[in-house]
């Protein structure tokens, strides 16, 4: 009996659970988390547009701080950072808020009681952090994947990108092409699985600690999860940034110098940074 009780308390499903269905779309609790993320960030954006002044107040400073810090990092990555800075900032903030929503009280604990086919009673949480659902992390990884291929083709041309996949020298292509292809695709998997795994594990950890000791000890892990949520958002954003910067910088100096000579001239001071990223 106590064993069973414990089991039901620690229950965290590996997949996002369905709350209701609209036609073919199964509306899951992680979608609620994603929408909640949208609302939080939408409010922040609304605040920025409505109340922003040149000399910032406290809240404005707090909202500008992550943008400012991350922009500092992004601007070092390549000479054309302004093109993808918004995407990287978006990755960071959206993942950060999606992760931290899992730490709010009630998330993962308040839910609808549901009796599954085997007769066990289970609680389906109404809100699940979006990043604890592979749909969300894989979706973001696909966006990142598409974007760094897009930037690679934009910077070096489709042929330049293919050449990069073939590798040098050309007679090694039959061997190198599959390897490079797998390496590109593996980024998709590593990005999505890393984020999903960390946040999901965090949820499990929190649920476990909550089941073991209802007060004090979970607070320690909540603090840790704040840090992990931040680190995972940063890792995802910076990896995506590095992939894009590398895609831009590859064959940058040999193949298509003329295409972005102007851009280089405009950001001449960033050129060494781009070279460093390429190296």
């Amino acid at each position: 009996m106590p064993e069973e009780e414990g089991e039901s308390l620690i229950h965290v499903a590996i997949e996002a659970e369905e709350l209701f269905a609209i036609g073919p779309l199964h509306f899951t609790n992680s979608m609620v988390g994603a929408l909640l993320t949208s609302v939080v960030l939408g409010l922040a954006a609304w605040y920025i547009t409505r109340r922003s002044t040149l000399v910032p107040g406290r809240l404005q400073s707090a909202l500008e701080l992550p943008v400012e810090l991350l922009t500092g990092i992004i601007s070092e990555s390549s000479s054309r950072w302004r093109g993808y800075a918004g995407l990287i900032l978006g990755f960071f903030l959206i993942i950060l808020i999606a992760n931290w929503i899992g730490l709010l009280p009630g998330v993962g604990t308040i839910g609808i009681t549901h009796i599954d086919p085997t007769g066990h009673e289970a609680v389906i949480p109404i809100v699940r952090p979006a990043s604890a659902d592979l749909n969300f992390t894989l979706g973001l990884a696909i966006v990142a994947f598409v974007m760094f291929i897009y930037w690679g083709i934009k910077a070096n041309g489709a042929r330049g990108y293919l050449k990069e996949l073939m590798g040098e020298p050309l007679y090694m292509a039959p061997l190198m092409f599959p390897i490079n292809l797998i390496s590109e695709l593996s980024r998709l998997i590593s990005l999505s699985m890393r984020l999903f795994g960390n946040v999901f594990a965090g949820e499990v950890l929190l649920a476990t600690m909550l089941a073991l000791a209802p007060i004090l000890i979970p607070a320690v892990f909540l603090g840790l999860e704040i840090l992990f949520g931040f680190v995972q958002a940063l890792v995802f954003a910076l990896l995506a940034m590095t992939y894009i910067a590398t895609a831009i910088a590859e064959h940058h100096t040999t193949d298509h110098d003329d295409d972005h000579g102007e851009a280089d001239a405009a950001h001449a001071d960033h050129a060494p940074a781009a070279g460093a990223a390429a190296a």
Binding site: A34, S38, A45, V67, L87, I94, D133, L134, L140
Partner: protein, 175 residues
């Protein structure tokens, strides 16, 4: 692969929902948050660097003004010194001139005075000479009680005086 996705309940619709939600949010954030903030940061950076530049320019101007002021002051001091020297020289010259003029004037005055004295003495001498003649006549008349007409008497005295004249008068005029 299918089993893997099923285990995580990944399907196209859920994936699509998350991607679309992400893209919409990304667009909104870019439009209403990142762009304004970045513009604001750029603006702020420009303002700050402009402020620093202005401060530097102001300091440079201040330094320039100080140097100018000092130059003007030293110039004015030099000029004042020159003016004082010139004034001193003029005063000295004027004094010397006045002194020499006064000296010549004094000399002139003293010469004239001496001449006047001499003339006065001559006139006095002539007057005295006349009176002495009359006195001598009266005295001689009384003394000799001798009747003589006026004309004879005067001739006699003038003859006498003409004899006497060259002696004492010429002597006194020379002294």
């Amino acid at each position: 692969m299918g089993a893997f996705f099923e285990a995580f309940s990944v399907d196209v619709l859920k994936l699509g929902f998350q991607v679309i939600n992400f893209l919409i949010l990304l667009y909104l954030l870019n439009r209403f948050m990142f762009k304004p903030i970045m513009a604001r940061l750029d603006e702020r950076g420009e303002k700050i660097s402009k402020g620093l530049e202005d401060a530097e320019a102001a300091a440079r101007d201040r330094e320039l003004a100080r140097a100018e002021r000092e130059a003007a002051v030293s110039e004015a001091r030099k000029e004042a010194n020159e003016m004082i020297a010139r004034a001193n020289k003029i005063a000295e010259d004027t004094r010397n001139e006045i002194l020499s003029e006064a000296r010549t004037e004094a000399e002139k005055v003293s010469t004239r005075a001496r001449e006047e004295i001499v003339a006065e003495k001559d006139r006095a001498m002539a007057e005295i000479r006349g009176q002495v003649a009359e006195l001598a006549l009266a005295a001689a008349g009384k003394l000799i009680r001798h009747e003589m007409d006026d004309k004879a008497q005067r001739r006699l005295v003038e003859e006498f005086l003409a004899e006497v004249k060259p002696g004492p008068t010429s002597k006194s005029a020379r002294s």
